[in-house]
Structures are given as structure tokens and as C-alpha cells.
């Protein structure tokens, strides 16, 4: 039982999908409950993993390895280290909560929950896969349910959003596929095993290539592969020029899917960079991190914040805030300091919980008012005090108020960044001011001021909605007070990754 726990955790939702498909499509409630039921064991498994994980051991734990396609050295190879276990925990939790956030879905209930559970498996798989091929399969596996979940159950412009998301990510992932193949063929013997690829990381060529029309390019094989992988991941993050799918997808997606999208999917980009680019291509990472992670991350922070400030749609604002906050992750990863990199991963986790809350909250108000126009509200605090309170918690967490989780990760990132790139750190820190600006402005326009007559009778947030929010709120507070609940998991694994790259820094 315990040695296969990761497999069970990953594929339990798939079983749930089968179960949901077998149910009669008319019995909506039964389907909802069954779906909810099947997300519980993964959560329990994740908690069990969390408790049994040995944080002192930097290596992989709970490893399972079964030959899959031996002719190509493809294995069913899964396991977790500190980074992935935090992501697994986040995924399991958000999936569980999002089932409840999806209770209001009335159209095609069966299909929705079936796809949702499939998505769950895909996400889990990405975070536990250690075989590159398996990783890619899971990576792409998420695309399909996501496409349908946005496209079928989304808002008015859902088709555009869904296809945009799909095309963007597919573009990234096929580039990634090329990079994977390039790595596969450069390894000896050819393998997709990430651990083995990492072990030979020194061998991938770095000498400058002569590629027409560049006679002497500064980039070598490693750099090109790094870039291909990076673009694939950057689209998911989403890093600056590749981010425009995100506002559309977020705005059109149903609430729960926005939560998953922001809470888990965005993390895959940064997770991928950490898991693949860093240890496998250390020289390229050392050479390129400043430009493509550090500077771009800082730019993301400011750019996302500025864009958020200009939004009229509450959900779009939250979406752009994600762009901004993921910038911290990128900036943190580029530092190669224990503080920065831990802060980055912690920020991934925190952003997952905080943005999850934000999207859930936007969903609550959207369900009642049927619009999300920031200027169309006003004085909601008097009508829905509890809701406003929770929102304030989430907003303040998102703007990095000390005592809440977002603060810790942002400070760690900026502290780490200062040690390498003080200017970027200053830029990133200035994002803090901008963030406060747009969130406060939003609070003022939506929740404070004279009550809008139209919404005098809006019902207060209900128990089910609170149920989805409170666990996240508690985590946000706990991690603000005791961040080592997550940081302890990460430390040794991140140290190990760092140690691979640092010798290559010039």
C-alpha cells in the first residue's frame, strides 16, 4: 500500500472519472458527491505523504519505477522530492475544494466532473513524473480537459479563450517535445529518465554553435535546448510576451477552473524550469537566468501590476495579478540563493492558495450579481460583511501583508534577489506598492462607499462557499506565521538543485 501511494494518488481521480461516467447523467447530486468522494483519497494520501516525507533527505522519495516501453528506455517512473510534494499537496487540496466550488454547474454535469477528475490526474502526474516522457504525457493530458472545461462551461467568449489557451500551450509543449528529444539523443545510453539526464548534465555541449546567419553565436546546444524548454514553460507561467492567453482564459473559465488554472497550472511552468532546466542544463541556466528569469520576472511583476490596475473586470484584475505574482517566482528562481529559490517555491504554493481564494471570491459575487464590473458595485461591505472580510484577507495576503503567507515568499524572493541583482530587487519591490494600489482601489470601489441600491438585497456568502474558502484562508495565515511548514520540505531538495547550478555561475 504505502509503496504505491503515489500511483494511487495520481490515478484515483481517473477511477473517479470512470465511476462518474457510469452514473446516470440525470442524477446530478449523486455525480457531484461521487466526484467529491474521489478527490478525498488523493488529499488524504497527500497529507500522509506530507507527514511521512523526510525533509532531510534531498533525494527522491516514494519512488516507483516500472519499465514501460523498454525498447526506448521509457519507464513508468514517479517519485517526489520537496518541491513536488508541496505542489502535490496544493493540487490535491485545490481539486478537493474546487469540486465544491463547482456545485453550481448545471449544464452537462456528468461531463464536467468527469473532465475535472481527468484534469486532476493529469496535474498530479506532472508533479510526480520523473520520466521525461511520462512527464510530457501528463503535461499534455491536462490540455484536453482544460480546453473543454473552459470551452463548454465558460463565459460568453469561451470559445475564443479556450482555443487561445490551447494553441498557446500546444505551441509551447511541442517545442518542449523537441527539446526532450534533443536531450534524449544526447544522453548515453539514450534515456528519458530525469535522474539520469541530470547525472549527465555536464555532457551537454555548450560550445558556441555556428548557425546561419549567425557566424559565431554565443549559444551552444545547451542554450538552445534551454530556450526551447523555457518557452514551453514560460507560456504556462505565463511570462511576459506569452501571457495574453491568461486573462482571456481566466475570465471565461468557470470559477473552479480559474482556480485550478491559476492555482496549479501556472505553477507547472515554474516547476518545470526548476525540475528540468536547472539541473539538466546548468550552464545554460547560469548564463541565461539573469535575462530570462530575473529581468523578465521583474518585468512581469511590474507589467502585470500595471495591467491589473487598468482593468475594469474584477476577474481580469485577479488574472493580471497572477502575472505579476508569478514574476516573483521567476525572479526568485534566478537568484540561486537559498532564500530566493525557497521563496520562489513558497510563492508558488502561496500564490496557489491566495489566488485560489481570489477567484473563488470573484465567483461568489459573480454568481449573485452576474457581472464583474468593478465600477458596477459599491458598498458591498454593508451588505455582505463576512464575504467582505474574507475578501479583505485574500486581498491583503495577495499584496504581501506581513503575517500572511504572501509576505514571506515575497520577502524571501526579494531578499534573495538583492544578493544577486539589487536593481531587479528594487524593481520587484516597487511592485509591492503597485499591488497595494490596485487592490486598495478595488476594495474601495467594490466594497466600500455608499451601498449600491441594486445590490441591497444580495444574499450573504453561503456555507458551501465558505467551506471552500476557509481552509485556504487558514493556510494563508498559518504559512504567514509558520512558513517552515512548507519551507522545511523544500530546503534540502532546493539546495541540491542549487548546488548543481552554482558552480557554473561565472
Amino acid at each position: 500500500m504505502t509503496e504505491n501511494v503515489l500511483t494511487y494518488m495520481t490515478f484515483f481521480p481517473l477511477a473517479g472519472m470512470a465511476a462518474v461516467l457510469l452514473l446516470p447523467s440525470k442524477s446530478h447530486n449523486l455525480i457531484r458527491w461521487v466526484a467529491a468522494l474521489f478527490t478525498v483519497p488523493p488529499l488524504l494520501f497527500a497529507v500522509w505523504l506530507y507527514r511521512n516525507f523526510d525533509p532531510a533527505n534531498p533525494g527522491l522519495q516514494f519512488v516507483e519505477k516500472i519499465p514501460w516501453i523498454p525498447a526506448y528506455n521509457i519507464d513508468y517512473f514517479i517519485g517526489v522530492d520537496g518541491v513536488s510534494i508541496s505542489m502535490v499537496l496544493l493540487t490535491a487540496l485545490l481539486c478537493f475544494l474546487c469540486i465544491f466550488a463547482s456545485w453550481g454547474i448545471e449544464k452537462g454535469v456528468k461531463g464536467y466532473f468527469a473532465l475535472f477528475l481527468l484534469l486532476d490526474t493529469g496535474m498530479m502526474g506532472v508533479f510526480v513524473a520523473l520520466d521525461f516522457f511520462l512527464f510530457y504525457i501528463f503535461w499534455e493530458l491536462m490540455l484536453l480537459p482544460m480546453y473543454f472545461l473552459i470551452g463548454v462551461w465558460g463565459g460568453p467568449r469561451r470559445e475564443y479563450a479556450a482555443i487561445k489557451f490551447f494553441l498557446y500551450t500546444l505551441f509551447g509543449s511541442v517545442l518542449m517535445l523537441l527539446a526532450i528529444l534533443a536531450l534524449y539523443f544526447s544522453s548515453e545510453p539514450h534515456t528519458f529518465d530525469m535522474t539520469k539526464l541530470i547525472a549527465q548534465s555536464g555532457k551537454y555541449g555548450t560550445e558556441p554553435l555556428t548557425i546561419w546567419p549567425f557566424d559565431q553565436w554565443r549559444w551552444g546546444f545547451q542554450h538552445i535546448v534551454w530556450m526551447a524548454l523555457f518557452i514551453g514553460f514560460a507560456i504556462k507561467i505565463p511570462a511576459f510576451p506569452f501571457h495574453t492567453w491568461l486573462p482571456d482564459a481566466h475570465v471565461e473559465a468557470p470559477t473552479a477552473i480559474s482556480v485550478i488554472l491559476a492555482g496549479v497550472l501556472l505553477k507547472m511552468g515554474t516547476y518545470g524550469i526548476l525540475r528540468v532546466n536547472f539541473p539538466m542544463l546548468p550552464q545554460a541556466t547560469a548564463d541565461l537566468a539573469y535575462y530570462f528569469l530575473g529581468a523578465l520576472g521583474a518585468w512581469n511583476i511590474i507589467y502585470g501590476a500595471l495591467c491589473a490596475m487598468a482593468q475594469k473586470d474584477l476577474k481580469k484584475l485577479v488574472a493580471y495579478s497572477s502575472v505579476s505574482h508569478m514574476g516573483y517566482v521567476m525572479l526568485g528562481m534566478a537568484t540561486f540563493t537559498p532564500q530566493g529559490i525557497s521563496g520562489a517555491v513558497l510563492q508558488m504554493f502561496n500564490h496557489g492558495t491566495i489566488t485560489g481564494m481570489l477567484f473563488l471570491l470573484v465567483g461568489v459575487i459573480y454568481d449573485r450579481a452576474h457581472h464583474r464590473d468593478i465600477d458596477g458595485f459599491g458598498g458591498l461591505a454593508a451588505v455582505m460583511p463576512v464575504y467582505t472580510g474574507v475578501t479583505a484577507l485574500a486581498f491583503f495576503a495577495s499584496m504581501g501583508l506581513p503575517g500572511l503567507s504572501g509576505f514571506i515568499s515575497e520577502v524571501l524572493v526579494l531578499l534573495g534577489a538583492w544578493q544577486k541583482y539589487p536593481i531587479l530587487s528594487i524593481l520587484g519591490a516597487s511592485g509591492v506598492v503597485l499591488t497595494a494600489g490596485y487592490f486598495l482601489w478595488t476594495i474601495q470601489r467594490v466594497y466600500l462607499g455608499p451601498t449600491n441600491e441594486k445590490y441591497k438585497t444580495l444574499p450573504e456568502i453561503n456555507g458551501r462557499e465558505l467551506f471552500t474558502l476557509i481552509p485556504l484562508g487558514i493556510i494563508v495565515i498559518i504559512l504567514g506565521v509558520y512558513p517552515h511548514a512548507i519551507l522545511d520540505l523544500l530546503r534540502s531538495s532546493l539546495d541540491q538543485i542549487n548546488q548543481i547550478v552554482i558552480p557554473h555561475l561565472s
Binding site: 525498447a71 493530458l141 484536453l144 463548454v152 470559445e159 482555443i163 500546444l170 517535445l177
Partner: protein
């Protein structure tokens, strides 16, 4: 092994059985009233022939019938493939309303004849045999395309196909005549000997090859020999379109590999082939491949007719296939064979859904798929989505693995070929757009009140289930098929 006529018969059961079935069908067509049973007889014939084909594995490879045909794993692979294609298409035809008016006896007979022609395409070792078998397949295809009675599009398509095919094969035999003239022989083995030893006019030889490529290319449907296919695919009865797009394509690949690899190239160290100096056909095919996939995909983008769209997508897939050819090594060929096999499965599946929808609505345009998932046809819609995503090359479907192998082959070859891979990748993204458009119409749009309900017969649902399961299964566990494709690369050369 170089056998005469009578000794060869021992290794000739599959063809014999198939021929027997054909003749039996001709006779029974006159006797039996129930035409449906003819279909089942044809299926049984295919199955027996398939069994006989599988029986041949393990025997020594060699020449049969005085060096007319070759028996080796490669030819067996394509025999199995064409039998499967014929079998599935017959299965698909059983409940197809579109071909209600077609004479079933002749229809099945011609289908099987075509399959027989494909047998020879894969195994011929002689220019004459190549020509004959190609023509056999072509002729039956023309007839099948035009078999819809009282149907303008069908007849028009047949006529275009015939003219195009006639010219292409005319060019091909002209090219073959030059090869004959330069080497004095029709036999592949002797041709290759002569070419490698003798002094040849490279320009002449190159032109001959280009002519020959025209004949092969129009079967595989690559640019610039593709122009017939959208018209023909659209006009032909849907099962025949399916058959043409997979089987005819596959056999084109077979005859091409057979001619360009074991016949006139040399296998060097490490599975790398070398072509005859001065005849740089791989260089051309590299560009042809890029242009083909790009053109096919771009043209497919705006199509309103699903069959026509699938035709253009077929062109694009031909482009992908060529990727495996141009790298000139066994990995590429293996990827090609694998891709042909999975393409057969997923493309047939897609056409099957087209048949099902056409049965219910009589429509082939994208609008006819509107809200398919919400009008009682969730299963065909889901299956269609699976096939289309598989065609796009998304995991965990078989099409992904196929593309994976092709990419792998190209990346491994490195250098110039990486450009090809990048082009292919951009094309994958473009292709997603139009495949997803159908998926979008099926799932994201909602049906109008007057859109008819879609129902399936037992036969169709069984076939649909079979194909979609296979598509998923091969996406997850493809090891056996991959190694089968690898083993099928054992050519008999002298």
C-alpha cells in the same frame, strides 16, 4: 530463396485466399438475394487471408514467381495493413446509408481487389509488377469513387481521379522506361547493380526519378501531386474516402520505400542508407515534406466540408510521413511504418464518425456537427474528439506516439533536419486549430431545435469502440506495435 511459379504458391496463400474470395463474391452476387451477407463473407475472407498472412511470419524471405515479388517482413506488414483497412472499411460500409444505392456485390469485390493490388504494391520487386499493381489499385479506386449512382459529385470525382491518375502513371512509366533503358532490366536488384556500377547520366536518372515520384507521389498525396485528393475525397462515398486516405496512402508509402530503399539505395553502417550519387531525391523530399505539411494544413483551415478538410489534413499527414523518409535511416523508416499504422486507425475512426453523422443528418459540413455531443451522440462526439486530437498529435493518443517517433528520427539526424522538425511543430499547432474547430462545433456549440438526433447501429458502435480504444491504447502502450514496425524493416535484398 528464389522460387519458380509452383514452389511459390506455398507462400502465396493470402493472395490466393483473397482472390478466391473475390471470385466467390462475383459468383454469389448473382445468386444471393441478401446483399448484406456478402459483406460478412468479404470480412471472413479478409480474416482468413489475414490469418494466412500471419502464418507466413517466420518463413525465410525471398523472391517468388521468378523474382516478380518479394516475400519479407516489410511486405507482410503492408499486407496486414491493407487487409485491416479493407476489413474495417467493409465493416464501416455495412451500415452506411450513403452507399445504399451501390451494387454491394461489385462494391465489395472491388474493395478486395484493391486490397489485393496493395499486396503487390508492397511486395513487387520488378518495375512491371510495380506498375501493374499500382494500376490495379488505381483502377479499382476510380471505379469505387464513381460508384455512387446518379451522383454528380461522385462521377466528377471519378473522372478527375482517372485523368489525374492516368497522367501521373503515364509519367511514371515514361520515367521507368528510362531506367529500363539505362540499366537494361526491369528487376530491382539488377537495376541497382547496374546503377551502382555503370556510368549513368545523372541528370537523366534524376529526371526519371522525378517522373517515377509523380506516380508514387500521387498515391501518397504529397505536394505537388496532391491536387486531385480534395476533390476526390469529397466526391467519393465516405467509406471509400476512408479507404483511399489510409490504404492507398499506405501502399504508396510501401511501394516508395521498396523502390527507393532496398532497390536503389545502399544500407551502410548503423542503419543509414545512402542514395545513388547525383540523384539527390532526399533533398527534394525534405522541401517537399515541409511544403506538403504546410500547404495541407493551411488549406484545411478554412474548409467547411469535413471530408474535404480531412483530405487536406491527409495531405499534411503525408508531409509528416515524408519526414521519416528523408532522414535516410532505419529509425525514420520505422517511424514511418508506425505512423502509417496509427494513421490508419485514427483516420478510419474519424471517417467512421463522418459516416455516422451523415447517416443521421445527411450532412458533411462542419455545421452538421453542431452540438453533436448534446443531441444524443455523446459517444461519437467523444470518439471523434479522440481521433481528431490523435491526428493533431496530442498524448495520450496514438497519433502522438507516431509523431513522437517521427520527430525523434528527425532530431536524431540533427543538422538541417531540425529545421524540418520546427516546421512540423508549427504545423502541429496550426492543425490543432482546424481539428479543434470540429471539436468546438461538437461540444461548445449547442444544437438548434431542428437538428436531428444521431443514432448508431450496433455495427458502427462496435467498430467505433474498437477504433477509439485502440487509439487510446496505442497512445499509452505502443511497445509491441513499435517493435513490430521495427521488425518489419527486414528487407530481403539478394
Amino acid at each position: 530463396m528464389d522460387l519458380g511459379n509452383f514452389e511459390s504458391l506455398r507462400f502465396f496463400y493470402p493472395e490466393t485466399i483473397l482472390t478466391g474470395t473475390i471470385l466467390l463474391l462475383v459468383v454469389l452476387d448473382l445468386v444471393l438475394r441478401s446483399k448484406k451477407s456478402l459483406g460478412y463473407i468479404a470480412i471472413v475472407g479478409c480474416l482468413i487471408s489475414l490469418w494466412a498472412t500471419l502464418e507466413l511470419y517466420g518463413t525465410l524471405g525471398g523472391w517468388l514467381f521468378h523474382r516478380m515479388v518479394i516475400l519479407d517482413n516489410f511486405s507482410l506488414f503492408f499486407k496486414v495493413l491493407s487487409l485491416l483497412a479493407a476489413l474495417l472499411v467493409i465493416w464501416m460500409s455495412l451500415d452506411c446509408l450513403e452507399i445504399q444505392g451501390v451494387h454491394k456485390g461489385e462494391y465489395y469485390t472491388l474493395l478486395l481487389t484493391s486490397a489485393l493490388g496493395m499486396f503487390f504494391m508492397a511486395s513487387s520487386s520488378n518495375l512491371l509488377m510495380a506498375y501493374l499493381s499500382l494500376e490495379l489499385v488505381s483502377l479499382t479506386s476510380y471505379i469505387l469513387t464513381g460508384s455512387l449512382p446518379h451522383n454528380r459529385r461522385s462521377s466528377e470525382a471519378a473522372l478527375k481521379y482517372l485523368i489525374y491518375g492516368g497522367v501521373a502513371s503515364g509519367a511514371m512509366i515514361y520515367g521507368m522506361s528510362w531506367v529500363f533503358g539505362m540499366t537494361g532490366s526491369l528487376d530491382y536488384a539488377r537495376i541497382s547493380e547496374a546503377l551502382l556500377q555503370g556510368e549513368v547520366n545523372r541528370l537523366g536518372l534524376f529526371m526519371a526519378f522525378v517522373f517515377i515520384l509523380a506516380g508514387f507521389g500521387y498515391k501518397i498525396v504529397f505536394v505537388p501531386f496532391h491536387m486531385w485528393s480534395p476533390d476526390v475525397y469529397q466526391g467519393a462515398p465516405t467509406p471509400i474516402t476512408a479507404f483511399l486516405s489510409v490504404a492507398s496512402n499506405a501502399s504508396g508509402v510501401a511501394i516508395m520505400i521498396r523502390f527507393f530503399f532496398p532497390a536503389i539505395s545502399r544500407l551502410g553502417e548503423g542503419g543509414n542508407w545512402s542514395y545513388i550519387p547525383g540523384v539527390e531525391w532526399p533533398h527534394f523530399l525534405l522541401f517537399v515534406s515541409m511544403v506538403t505539411m504546410t500547404l495541407g494544413n493551411l488549406c484545411a483551415l478554412n474548409q467547411q466540408n469535413v471530408k474535404r478538410m480531412l483530405a487536406y489534413s491527409g495531405i499534411a499527414h503525408a508531409g509528416y510521413l515524408l519526414m521519416g523518409l528523408v532522414v535516410l535511416n532505419n529509425d525514420g523508416l520505422r517511424a514511418m511504418l508506425f505512423y502509417v499504422a496509427v494513421y490508419l486507425i485514427m483516420n478510419l475512426g474519424a471517417f467512421l464518425v463522418v459516416v455516422i453523422v451523415a447517416n443521421a443528418t445527411g450532412r458533411e459540413d462542419v455545421e452538421g456537427y453542431r452540438g453533436l455531443a448534446w443531441r444524443g451522440a455523446a459517444i461519437p462526439a467523444v470518439c471523434m474528439a479522440i481521433f481528431l486530437f490523435s491526428l493533431t498529435g496530442l498524448p495520450p493518443f496514438a497519433g502522438f506516439v507516431g509523431k513522437f517517433f517521427l520527430f525523434a528520427a528527425v532530431i536524431e539526424a540533427g543538422g538541417m533536419f531540425v529545421l524540418l522538425a520546427v516546421v512540423a511543430i508549427l504545423n502541429s499547432v496550426i492543425s490543432l486549430y482546424y481539428y479543434a474547430r470540429i471539436v468546438k462545433t461538437m461540444f461548445l456549440d449547442f444544437p438548434q431545435p431542428d437538428d436531428p438526433k444521431v443514432e448508431m447501429t450496433v455495427n458502427s458502435s462496435a467498430l467505433l469502440g474498437f477504433l477509439s480504444c485502440l487509439t487510446v491504447l496505442l497512445g499509452i502502450y505502443w511497445g509491441p506495435l513499435a517493435s513490430y514496425a521495427g521488425q518489419s524493416l527486414r528487407f530481403f535484398v539478394r
